[in-house]
Symmetry: C3
Subunit: 220 residues, 3 copies
Amino acid sequence: MTQTPLLLALDLTGTFAFGLNGALTAVRAVRLDLVGVLTLGVVTALGGGIVRDVLIDSLPPATFNALGYLGVAAAGALLAFFLSLPLERFTALITVFDAVGLSVFCVTGASKALEFGLDGVQAVLLGAITAVGGGTMRDVLIRRVPTVLSSDFYVVPALVGAAVTVVAERAGIYGLASALVAAAVCFVIRMLGLRFNLYVPSTPRRTSRRGEEASEDGGE
Amino acid sequence: MTQTPLLLALDLTGTFAFGLNGALTAVRAVRLDLVGVLTLGVVTALGGGIVRDVLIDSLPPATFNALGYLGVAAAGALLAFFLSLPLERFTALITVFDAVGLSVFCVTGASKALEFGLDGVQAVLLGAITAVGGGTMRDVLIRRVPTVLSSDFYVVPALVGAAVTVVAERAGIYGLASALVAAAVCFVIRMLGLRFNLYVPSTPRRTSRRGEEASEDGGE
Amino acid sequence: MTQTPLLLALDLTGTFAFGLNGALTAVRAVRLDLVGVLTLGVVTALGGGIVRDVLIDSLPPATFNALGYLGVAAAGALLAFFLSLPLERFTALITVFDAVGLSVFCVTGASKALEFGLDGVQAVLLGAITAVGGGTMRDVLIRRVPTVLSSDFYVVPALVGAAVTVVAERAGIYGLASALVAAAVCFVIRMLGLRFNLYVPSTPRRTSRRGEEASEDGGE
């Protein structure tokens, strides 16, 4: 499927939102300079797609090689650098844009993996990696246990969106319409998750029997 | 060398053990949800091989692309999620299975690197990376200084097993028998290391002269 | 451009300095064994170039595949392991050598990216990644927020050196002379930055309104 203007617009919107939100999260967690904020915004926005492209051997990575994506991600990060405080009033709006990014990335990620000949299960995983990989890299760089591993209802919508994409492709009906449906499914699940505080079951909170291991991280 | 049933069985055993042990370690260190436990189990089991395959340009990575490996790693992680407490009684057994994984991975990793035309030293390093890379990635994700860097007698057996593999290959006698010998050498060294508390010499424990650097991490 | 003896000598000097300085930094921050110190020295010295080679699809990575680079990086790390305390007297000298590494790596990194057909902006970024990527990986492994993201005047000289390289190449005058000029520009900026305490503007220090996020990392 060639990139339609609508999908491209959604993809760039998502990239901008990821750059902005990724940089905001970083700025709120650690003290960074301009270089750090730009780096973390761009890593959040492009990191997942880069990992996918490395794994499917589509190198150099597409978004890294396209000035538009780099520029849009950097613009989001710059905005976060200069306006991190006033932007706190728009947290709800930014979360919605971020969900747009999640939704588009899991669909385009899964679709690209299929194009490169990967099987269905792998394509679903790569769709999710495209969507959440960048944020995971950012969390590692700012020394947080990645939120997607511990508490956020963030991976599940991405997996579902990617799965819908793979099913549509296998059924021979993948195109702009079904891509939008898959993205919409992911978006709705993400929004419902936020609204109703859905979560994936966790391991039981442990009492600290192994002091050396549990002490610092036990409360995460 | 084509994959024999015996080597395949050992490889899958190791993958299962790494998935189980990797997820158990993660569960004991931080609070994770099901997505996180699955992710960390699979990363521990497949991460080292994926790094090796990226570096030797064998993409998409073999184990990532094989449903069997993904499934076995995920099964180990699931077991860890649901049975982390009762499994503590079987720590010794799990350590033995984990050593099987270490032993098979360093041999198959070195052997694959040679197949792809890398030199001996690089093949030894890639064998060790295959064996310990996944656990290192897990430790980074759960925010621990990787134990292989600081205290575990874990890399040395992997290096020796990989070296025996390379020597056998160079001597023209690499096959199932020598692969098993190389894995057995690694396994025995690992077990002796655990039994006799062997370790690699460390840097001296520093008194905290550089407060800002040494304070938090100094006691690791 | 073929590798001239002069550039090769500078490149190996930089690799040695990165291996030494990377291992010293690691040793001063966490307790490591010999395996850990060697690993972190080699990762610091070769990590940036490996990331670049993965992204431009030049695999296996050049320096990983060249015994000379591996050996020189390991030699630097060994020196750090055995002489970390006496070496503290030579901090100023090591910083100068480290700046040589930074300067050569950003130039050779950008130049190699252009050779592999990447565009100017990407080549500048890859030059900087070559120069600072290894140190960033080391910081992640020893659980520090990478200093290049937060406070060091380290990325800017690398970006400028890489940019001079790209401009020279585009003007058709890239060769040994212009490579040395580009490296010298980076070196001088780095030295001026250290001498006059230059820095990139940071985000404002936040008062801890979000306790759970800002508490531990807020003082970084």
